[in-house]
Amino acid sequence: MIDVSVSLGALKMPSFIATASGTFGYGFEYVGAVDYSKLGAVTAKGIRVEPWPGNSMPRHCEVPGGLINAIGLQGTGVEHFLSITVPWYRMQVPSVPIIANIWGDSVESYARVAAKLGGAVDALEMNVSCPNVKAGGHTFGQDPKILAEVVSAVRKETKLPLLVKLAPNVPSIAPYVKACEDSGADALSLINTIPAMAIDIEKRRPVLANVSGGLSGRCVHPVAVKMVYEAYRVTKLPILAMGGVYNAKDAIELFLAGASAVAVGTSLFTDPGVVSSVYDGVVDYCSRHGFSAVRELTGALN
């Protein structure tokens, strides 16, 4: 038997696979299509204090090897999340931990949503790198000083395991990793989507109403591997790695680069069975290569 459990700080995950925020609704939408017994955590869609309508349509476009989205963090706000969404999730999916992904448009609003969530969820993931909302998120992840400020503010308001989801589009990840470490983060999530754009040449207009969006899917996987590899070399913080995980090989690459757990996201849209195939494939790899626990794969490059 291979031990499939992993930890991200104090967050104990019964399996090494999570879902990436924004691709898995509030956790229960895929009941019937995904094998939840193989999930170690779900990450809910981004939540802030107030409801938020998101961007205009069109919000997505398919590109070779992936998807550009500019959903814009549509959500019902933290009150509805606490009173309706989380209880419904716990009833539908009693055994899988839920990570709330949070965002805001000021240091204070990040702190407020963290405070309101209290202990209702199992961990928090701070989105400081969404390319689709001008007012919030992105700017906080593009300056290590501001990043440290917002992470510290959230840290003061929560005892939950705290993950910070970083942007891939920075010259070097090291100062951001250090800022997270120094401000009390428990783990890192890498990577968020990559800023991208597509143009409809017939209409001579951007395809997305938001003009640009975030690229995800198959094509971003090598970028994720590199970012995880670089972050792992400069930190002891565990890494939840995501970006184009379509099969076990993709997941194992991320583990070897330094991930403690992996998340599937865009691949779920094509194949909800990806949770099972990645799980089974990683377990099989461990057996074949003499690892007795998936956590032994972390950073196990020769």
Binding site: G66, Y246, F269
Partner: protein, 259 residues
């Protein structure tokens, strides 16, 4: 909801760029309601391509039938699927049409928008004493689909084509308006069920609202997940930004906000 591995039974070109796909899909067929849709993984597309959503044309005896038009990369690739192939279909999905109506049910379709109306007609005839009439519009006669099958259900059909090659010349609202006027004049109750291009749906919604009839409008949107998880397929409604894949695709006419 099941992600079912379905064996293709038949896949035929029915002319005008339209095709009919029949698959063995016992799990989905068991639960499907008229107006719901399925999310098809097109095997000829690479793994990073999204699934494609299709209305259910017919479902019974474990067989699911789709009627679709080749409109882009996904439907073009789907055209390569042959009898005997296996394809993954996620469904049934979304919020469909009511399965009962009172008075006369006016079904209004445009082009491949008639697809969900066939199963609806069958359900309405089975579950209620409603009289069912079909109004169907298209550019030309080749865009008017499955008329014989609708007629075999014993319902009256009123086609309209832009070029006058079949039925009345003009938009589907030409015969529809005559029917609404006649029903309104005799104070007979009726409901409207529609699926087709947005301008048609907007025109039909306005008629339902102004005549005081219930209107059930099925929206067609590009989708990502199909299950309510991603928030890509938004329709503006009186409740804000609603997801076509789960709050829809069928909305009450008075709930829709047109831009």
């Amino acid at each position: 909801m099941t992600d079912e591995k379905c064996s293709v039974l038949e896949h035929v070109d029915v002319g005008g760029g339209y095709r009919r796909l029949k698959v063995a899909s016992p799990a989905i067929v068991k639960d499907v309601q008229a107006g719901q849709f399925v999310h098809v993984r097109v095997p000829q597309l690479d793994e990073s391509s999204l699934r494609r959503p299709f209305s259910v044309f017919d479902a019974g005896d474990g067989v699911l039938t789709l009627l679709y038009k080749e409109v882009g990369r996904g439907t073009k690739a789907l055209g390569l699927v042959k009898a005997g192939d296996e394809i993954n279909i996620l469904g049934p999905l979304g919020h469909g049409f009511p399965s009962k109506a009172s008075g006369t049910a006016l079904l209004v379709g445009g082009g491949y928008g008639v697809a969900p109306l066939y199963l609806l007609a069958k359900m309405l005839l089975k579950n209620s004493s409603a009289k069912v009439k079909l109004f169907v519009g298209g550019r030309t006669a080749a865009d008017i689909l499955a008329l014989d099958e609708f007629r075999q259900l014993g319902i009256e059909v009123f086609p309209a084509t832009n070029d006058g090659s079949l039925g009345e010349k003009g938009l589907v609202t030409v015969p529809l308006d005559k029917e609404i006027a006649a029903l309104s004049a005799s104070s007979a109750p009726f409901e409207i069920f529609a699926c087709g291009p947005d301008p048609m749906l907007k025109a039909v919604s306005e008629r339902a609202i102004s005549s005081g009839a219930k209107g059930w409008i099925s929206m067609d949107r590009h989708m990502i997940c199909g299950v309510g998880a991603c928030y890509a397929c938004i329709q503006k409604t009186v409740r804000g930004n609603s997801r076509c894949c789960i709050e829809g695709p069928v909305f009450a006419a008075e709930d829709l906000v047109w831009e």
